[in-house]
């Protein structure tokens, strides 16, 4: 096994050398493989929290696994089956380092895909780039994953938090009269990314923020923060919270009869885990930026990608809860990597994987909202940078306004 892989690498290496000497395009040399790819198999590595505090996100890994199973049942990608190796890192950075090293050095995967969480990905950022193994479409919206110059082997996927924060700020400035802004923020990387983007969006009007309240992930509730925010006299509320706290905040605002223009971050755009626990009446009018469809939303019931998702879900994840939005995310991001692998053709080298990932033009991944497309270039490592504003109306989202983009960052 090891022997064969080594030989493949040698062949690949000499092919690269030959291509450079003769000056032929690499693809003309036929098949080329790095570790983790062969005529029959492509090995992809992943780590995510199947246990611990963040284990709700474990469903993303399970969905990816199920999608690849479907792909394999349908013949694989360009005739190759996907071997998806996923480990539990419990959202703990040192464990992620261990698992990433195991995947790269022991399992010899072609690349890592959708490793989850900002701290875990930060811990392996340097390692992956030193090893020149792609860290592709990471499952975090931090803005630091799009730096092709310093980190050419790392790429995010979803609209980054800073971009989203800036879009809310611009919307507030153009629609709310005399805004006085209260912010509730989770005190970590993710919260600060949103906050900084939002403040940048306000530019010289950052004095409009009258109150910033923070909470820790370990806090039981955000009740006191909500009362503090109400008492500040704010008429705009920017809610930077993860689902559990988002539900608490919406519920508490309703209870204390605080009715600001309520902007909620996309991280908590789930009916199943946010608006239903908070209470549908309490959630009416909450605004947020969306980039994916909610498959349970009646307005998309007949969209072809939604029906395809439901067929997949019924067959490959029969016991999972379809209301959990993490499945939609996993489905959509996996189809993006499948597109990349299709474009790689028979040149399954790490370099080519990054090259193809950085050349996606107008790719409509399933479950993205109409008009939102994946766009990348060798200098733009932010695949998704457009969002659509929506508000909660009844038990679904009502879209309003145009697609807002921030492609400049």
């Amino acid at each position: 096994m090891t022997k064969r892989t080594r030989r493949d690498v040698l062949i690949g290496g000499s092919a690269i050398a030959a291509a450079q000497v003769v000056g032929f395009p690499a693809i003309a040399q036929g098949k080329k493989y790095d570790d983790g790819a062969s005529d029959s198999v492509i090995k992809i590595g992943h780590s995510g929290p199947y246990s611990g505090n963040a284990s709700a996100y474990g469903n993303i890994g399970r969905t990816i696994e199920a999608v690849f199973k479907m792909v394999n049942d349908n013949g694989g990608i360009n005739g190759r089956k996907i071997e998806f190796i996923t480990y539990d890192d419990g959202y703990s950075p040192p464990k992620t380092v261990e698992m990433a090293r195991k995947l790269v050095e022991q399992d010899k995967v072609l690349f890592l895909f959708n490793t989850l969480g900002t701290p875990p990905n930060t811990a392996i950022h340097k390692y992956m780039n030193a090893k020149k193994v792609p860290q592709l479409f990471v499952a975090t919206g931090a803005s630091k994953w799009g730096q092709p110059k310093q980190f050419p082997w790392t790429m995010g996927w979803q609209p980054d938090y800073a971009t989203e924060g800036a879009i809310y700020a611009k919307h507030i400035l153009s629609t709310v009269k005399e805004p006085k802004i209260g912010i509730l923020m989770q005190n970590d990387d993710y919260g600060k990314d949103y906050y900084n983007g939002f403040i940048q969006g306000l530019a010289d009007k950052k004095g409009l923020v009258v109150q910033l309240a923070t909470y820790e992930v370990t806090d039981p509730t955000v009740d006191s923060q909500m009362i503090q925010l109400k008492n500040s006299g704010a008429n705009v509320f920017f809610n930077i919270t993860t689902p559990k706290f988002a539900a608490q905040a919406i519920k508490k605002a309703h209870e204390i009869e605080w009715k600001p223009a309520h902007y909620l971050n996309n991280v908590s755009s789930s009916f199943g885990s946010v608006f239903q626990p908070a209470g549908i009446p309490a959630s009416q009018g909450v605004m947020l930026a969306l980039y994916r469809k909610d498959v349970n939303d009646p307005q998309f019931a007949n969209a072809p990608d939604v029906t395809a998702f439901k067929t997949f879900f019924a067959k490959y994840m029969p016991s999972a809860n379809i209301k959990d939005d993490t499945h939609n995310y996993g489905y959509s991001v996996t189809h993006t990597v499948i597109e990349v692998l299709k474009k790689c053709g028979d040149t399954l080298t790490r370099e080519n994987v990054m090259k193809q990932a950085a050349n996606l033009k107008g790719f409509e991944a399933p479950l993205l909202l109409p008009g939102i497309k994946v766009n990348t270039s060798p200098t733009d490592f932010y695949p998704l940078q457009s969002v659509q504003l929506a508000r909660v109306k009844g038990e679904s989202f009502e879209m309003f306004g145009d697609i807002l983009s921030n492609e400049s960052t």
Binding site: P93, V97, R101, K102, E105, P119, K126
Partner: protein, 357 residues
């Protein structure tokens, strides 16, 4: 577990703690242990930089040894002094951060940071011990637990951010082997970690067999009698707490160097629990138990999820198992079969065989 030991079977426990009694105490370290250490130290030489043992395995071995040092620290406190701590992850974090900050901000040599990390943890441990040790048993466990919860929050504290970089954590660089030795960084660090462990185990062995060690055990077994005999129990307990924190702090410092990264999320309270579980599973009142405990923390716990998956698929179980199911079952079984921990269990098994045979 530790409480039952201290309250139910004190005499029995003391006897076991001292091994086979006084004669063994005067004997030197058995030859086979040294042989093991030498073989372990020669491992990186087997095949050079890209030898047949991969760098990843050296990372894992280093980690196992690091956890052994941490478990040993807790063993000194829990096993030999009878105090329970649920908060040793905090000292692990302090050790790691002291090293990371000194390397990152003050550009110190990584080896020079180790004594400072140990010193910092000793001082913090000793000071924390002073008021906390007025608390007994479960109350002390709760007080230390709050330490484990508080430290990650302190690391995120706004005014420490110039040093700690807040939630971002600190990236440091893995040192290359010096003098152009033909070793990979992982192999080199493995040797450093191994050397630290050997020194720390010898020191622990000497502490346990010294006047200090006898005082520690006397306080554990018969606090009243120990007081009557003139042992200053508050001082002994505080110093033990400090020494224990020093061990765990060294483990944390080595951990930071191995992983080149520290962040508050790396040292959540689960780490404290893991160290305690390692100590209990290994055998709290034995030094060899720390090695077993380190092995347990590193391998069994890390692969709990993989093991659960493997069992589900291999035996075609019709039920869906949660990731940590196997881990839980193993823990419960071990506690039933070997209530003295693995090292204690095998120790008594060995003695029984010798008696009957």
């Amino acid at each position: 577990m530790a409480t039952t030991m201290t309250s139910d079977r004190p005499a029995n426990n003391a006897e076991r703690a001292a091994g086979a009694g006084l004669p063994a105490a005067q004997a030197s370290v058995p030859k086979w242990i040294w042989l093991g250490v030498i073989i372990a130290a020669l491992l990186p030489l087997a095949g050079g930089e890209n030898g047949f043992i991969s760098n990843f395995y050296f990372l894992q071995l280093s980690l196992m040894i690091v956890y052994s040092i941490a478990v040993l620290g807790l063993n000194l406190l829990t096993g030999f002094n009878g105090q329970i701590s649920l908060g040793h992850g905090a000292f692990f974090a302090v050790g790691a951060y002291v090293t990371a900050i000194l390397i990152d901000r003050y550009e110190m040599h990584y080896l020079a940071t180790l004594p400072l990390a140990m010193l910092a943890c000793f001082v913090i441990g000793y000071l924390f011990g002073l008021p906390a040790l007025r608390l007994e048993g479960h109350y002390l466990a709760l007080a230390t637990f709050s330490l484990a919860i508080a430290v990650p929050q302190f690391l995120k504290y706004r005014h420490f951010e110039p040093f700690t970089h807040g939630v971002q954590g600190i990236n440091i660089f893995k040192p290359d082997p010096p003098f152009g030795l033909p070793l990979s960084p992982d192999q080199w660090l493995y040797l450093i970690v191994l050397a630290c462990a050997v020194v720390m185990f010898i020191v622990a062995r000497n502490i346990v067999r010294s006047r200090m060690g006898r005082a520690m055990m006397a306080i554990r077994d018969q606090p009243l009698a120990a007081d009557t005999m003139g042992i200053n129990s508050a001082r002994t307990k505080s110093i033990t707490f400090g020494i224990s924190a020093l061990y765990v702090g060294l483990a944390g410092a080595l951990h930071a160097i191995i992983f080149e990264f520290v962040s508050p999320d790396s040292f959540r309270f689960e780490l404290s629990i893991a160290i305690l579980v390692g100590a209990v599973i290994g055998g709290v009142a034995t030094l060899s138990g720390a090695v077993v405990g380190g092995f347990f923390v590193q391998f069994i716990e890390k692969y709990a999820d993989a093991a659960t998956k493997w069992v589900t698929s291999t035996f075609h179980l019709p039920i869906h198992l949660e990731p940590w199911t196997i881990y839980g079952i193993v823990l419960i079984l071990l506690m039933y079969i070997m209530p003295m921990g693995i090292a204690g269990g095998f120790g008594s098994l060995w003695r029984r065989i010798r008696l009957t045979g």
